[in-house]
Symmetry: C2
DNA sequence: AGCCGTTATTCATTTAAAGGAATAACGAAG
DNA sequence: CTTCGTTATTCCTTTAAATGAATAACGGCT
């Protein structure tokens, strides 16, 4: 019986054994950039604020430089900002991801895991 | 501060949302092939027999054809055998994995996640 | 029939991850 | 000095995953 298999490549940027960036985190960062708010970004992704906060905390601690600056209080209650470094690694990740996708589409046709 | 980041691509062969093959399962299958025994393969991988058994059960159920034939009783107490189809997808996975590794080494140098 | 080493399966326990609720802290603006 | 919406953090509960122990089932061999 033929089955509809598919090949997936997941891309991770690690430091040691810890993941700084993978698809989920990148998505979260982009949402933060769009909304300027961690809470709203989390909401948009149907993720608890708590989880999102831990996620950002981890990224900031691991990476070479700060990726997201969080400020509380003030005009809109607080604000979340992506740093220049943050924007840099986001676009690098996206660019590399595109290359990966091209690689998959070029190579996967050579294989047939049904036989 | 410069950190020693690394880029990892994990390769998965899925059917729908379920993973038939990924690096850990392939390693287990190879050990089974070497030893002819699920128990010994699990032991070698420092994995509980229980977990290994579930793993194989899942692979066999998901894949197009049987990948591992398990028999109990008999000369050596029992035996685990990789089918022709099993050997085929193992070598396909390894071959594709090699291509992926080459791709990584060619592309990762273009990126610097420290800046 | 009994032995042996493996496969097959259940049950209870432990450990880890995820989630939710609640509340404090903050600072601009009115 | 109060309000407002967000960030920050704790505590408890729930859910899921991993582990371990124990035991049955099997079949060639002596």
């Amino acid at each position: 019986m033929k089955k509809d298999y598919n090949i997936s490549l997941s891309l991770r940027i690690n430091i040691g054994n810890d993941t700084v960036l993978a698809s989920g985190k990148v998505e979260l960062l982009i949402k933060i950039k769009e909304m300027g708010s961690l809470r709203k970004a989390a909401e948009e992704m149907k993720m608890s604020y708590r989880k999102a906060w831990f996620s950002i905390h981890k990224i900031n601690n691991l990476a070479s430089e700060t990726v997201v600056v969080l400020k509380r209080g003030g005009k809109n209650g607080g604000v979340a900002t992506i740093t220049d470094y943050g924007n840099s690694i986001i676009s690098q990740y996206i660019s590399l991801r595109k290359d990966v996708d091209i690689f998959i589409s070029k190579n996967s046709s050579k294989y047939d895991f049904n036989k």
